[in-house]
């Protein structure tokens, strides 16, 4: 389909405010091409957590869109993000998942770059370099291609848009909630991310974490079947929040009389990092899911008893697109750095058992996303659009006494933030705003 045709089809069919999304957008190759160009090529993208870059020279290799990037802490301690591509012939510079280095040297012709991305010369040395390039090499022009980098509460983001909104503006209202999830204490990534391939379009898991509390009672009903929870309340009680900007989240809460489920020994640190209203909400958290537009999800899973303690192993998720109907899941387990060792051990165990590639919850979700993707591919052959229903909570009014910013709804059963996700997505894909 031509660009004009695909734009016209999107404009005619995607109607988030009416709760109507056509199925083809899940995995359409033309839509995907626009997404890479107009969305992933411009918006802020999560690349790493600060704890993954512990010292000068530390680096991790990540992707922005499909492009490989190096996220490195320079010898001046500043974190920079470079296209993982030599300026000479485009060869990949870093070919391992992470490491620590003073410089990146291209394995093809020896073009070498310092930790600030500066071109240093070629491996073979100055005399030969002068023979090969008697007119000299323009070091400025050979500087690595560098993205714009900003961070919030330990989360490092990058964008190719050098003059778009700041990260602060981009995150907007969702910051108040990220404070509770990732800013309540000094957090650290445990080990490395699990990575696995799922034959699904990237938007399906993103919108699931953004605005789908309703699926838990069906997709994860084994919880109730094995008496690990009572009924479906674990999916309903709490708040659905549409903070705007395409971000979205749901907060499951419990009776405040039960007291906080989080480690008591961290209470002082939580109190230093959160304002009283955030702290009050933390004390009631039973589960906490959400998505930072476009594809970074966060989750404090439902606390589950392990021995005589309630435990939850939190995570960050990146739904990394590798094609219109293929994604790589990146799943990081994070924990409070100064938590008791016992809490850390149990939280990690709970995370691995319930989420991640073998997780008893995750398994069922990947099954859904794959089958939806397959169906959306077959939708391409129809002349009539297959329209899907995104109308949950469409007539509900937001609470007027909720302490956090954005539109918060009583109970998690709403797709309000999902509708805003698709509105933000559509505007970005059609390049109608800087996203």
């Amino acid at each position: 389909m031509s660009n004009a045709d695909i734009r016209a089809r999107l404009e005619a069919t995607v109607d988030p405010e009416a709760g109507a999304i056509p199925m083809f957008v899940y995995s359409d190759p033309d839509v995907y091409r626009l997404e890479l160009e107009n969305l992933f090529g411009r918006t802020w993208l999560y690349v790493a957590h600060e704890s993954e870059l512990p010292e000068a020279g530390s680096f991790v290799v990540r992707r922005m869109g499909e492009q490989s990037v190096i996220v490195g802490r320079g010898d001046d301690e500043t974190v920079r993000v470079f296209l993982n591509s030599c300026r000479h012939r485009g060869m990949r510079l870093a070919n391992e998942d992470f490491g620590c280095t003073e410089m990146w040297r291209c394995p093809y012709h020896g073009f070498t770059y310092g930790s600030k991305g500066e071109f240093l010369g070629t491996l073979i040395g100055a005399p030969y370099e002068r023979q090969a390039y008697p007119e000299g090499l323009d070091k400025e022009a050979l500087h690595l291609i560098e993205a714009r980098v900003e961070s919030y509460r330990g989360m490092i983001f990058a964008t190719w848009s050098l003059d778009g909104p700041s990260l602060d503006e981009f995150l907007g209202n969702v910051k108040w909630y990220l404070d509770i999830v990732l800013g309540r204490a000094a957090m650290e990534v445990v080990g490395v991310p699990q990575k696995w391939i799922v034959p699904s379009g990237w938007k399906l898991p993103s919108e699931n974490f953004c605005a789908d509390a309703y699926h838990t009672a069906t997709a994860h009903s084994f919880l109730a079947r094995l008496n690990l929870v009572e009924g479906v309340d674990f999916g309903r009680d709490g708040y659905h929040v549409d903070p705007g900007g395409g971000h979205g989240l749901g907060i499951g809460v419990h009776d405040p009389a039960e007291g906080s489920y989080f480690p008591a020994s961290l209470e002082a640190e939580y109190g230093r990092n959160l304002d009283p209203e955030q702290l009050d909400l933390l004390h009631r958290v039973k589960n906490f899911h959400g998505n930072v537009f476009p594809n970074l999800s966060f989750l404090i899973p439902n606390f589950i008893p392990m021995g005589d303690q309630l435990v939850s192993g939190m995570m960050l998720r990146l739904w990394q697109p590798l094609g219109p109907d293929k994604l790589e899941v990146w799943s990081w387990h994070l924990v409070e750095r100064d938590a008791p060792e016992q809490w850390k051990r149990l939280a990690r165990k709970m995370y691995v058992q319930t989420f991640g590639v073998s997780g008893m919850f995750d398994q069922d979700d990947t099954e859904n996303w794959e089958a939806q993707t397959v169906n959306s591919n077959t939708a391409l052959t129809r002349s009539d659009e297959v329209m899907l229903h995104y109308g949950m909570g469409i007539s509900a009014a937001p609470l007027d006494d909720f302490p956090g910013p954005g539109a918060a709804y009583d109970g998690k059963f709403s797709e309000a933030a999902g509708r805003t996700f698709y509105r933000t997505w559509l505007d970005a894909v059609l390049a109608r705003s800087a996203a």
Binding site: D97, I197, F222, L226, Q353, S358, D364, T366
Partner: protein
């Protein structure tokens, strides 16, 4: 290269038969039989594999794909036996090939270290596709009541990004 202390033929056969029977229990979805092959104090882990330059370790034990004990394995099996374990219902068709068995007796202990290769074929649906899950398992076997039992399993898979949509199958 030393193969370590000699292991008698009878032990070799017993270990080989045991691992083959274990694989059959999983492929035939006799999960409760399978659970019975583990000791009550079993630990069952699968560390995450990463891509590193040679000379750097490419196995990360700090985080794993499985981090199980008898209780959690039992919960996983109970889940599979419900009618709402969607990821494996309809079930994958699996075939496990266990080979390259190396037995290393542990001096002064009644346990054996058994390294073996796992080739796990998994197919779902009707599109002619399949996943291969491949790795090395380092098991510890112990005799209980005259029967071999697994008291430790550590499976190291040979992919840095797993090419299967979930580990809804046991390693």
């Amino acid at each position: 290269m030393s193969a370590g202390p000699a292991v008698d033929l009878e032990t070799r056969l017993a270990v080989s038969d045991f691992l083959v029977a274990e694989a059959a229990a999983l492929d035939e979805r006799r999960f409760e039989d399978w659970l019975g092959l583990f000791t009550d104090d079993v630990t069952y882990v699968a560390p995450v594999r990463v891509t590193r330059r040679s000379g750097s370790p490419d196995v990360v034990d700090e985080i794993t794909y499985f981090d199980e004990d008898k209780q959690s394995l039992t919960l996983r099996v109970k889940r599979l036996l419900t009618d709402v374990a969607w990821a494996e219902d309809p079930p994958s068709m699996t075939r496990r090939f266990v080979s390259n068995i190396r037995i290393i007796p542990i001096p002064d202990e009644e346990e054996l270290t058994v390294k073996n290769n796992l080739l796990l074929f998994r197919s779902r649906g009707d599109e002619g596709t399949y996943d291969l899950i491949v790795g090395e398992r380092e098991d510890r076997l112990r005799e209980e009541g005259g029967e071999l039992r697994i008291c430790r399993r550590r499976a190291v898979l040979d992919q840095a990004a797993l090419g299967t949509k979930n580990l809804g199958v046991f390693l």
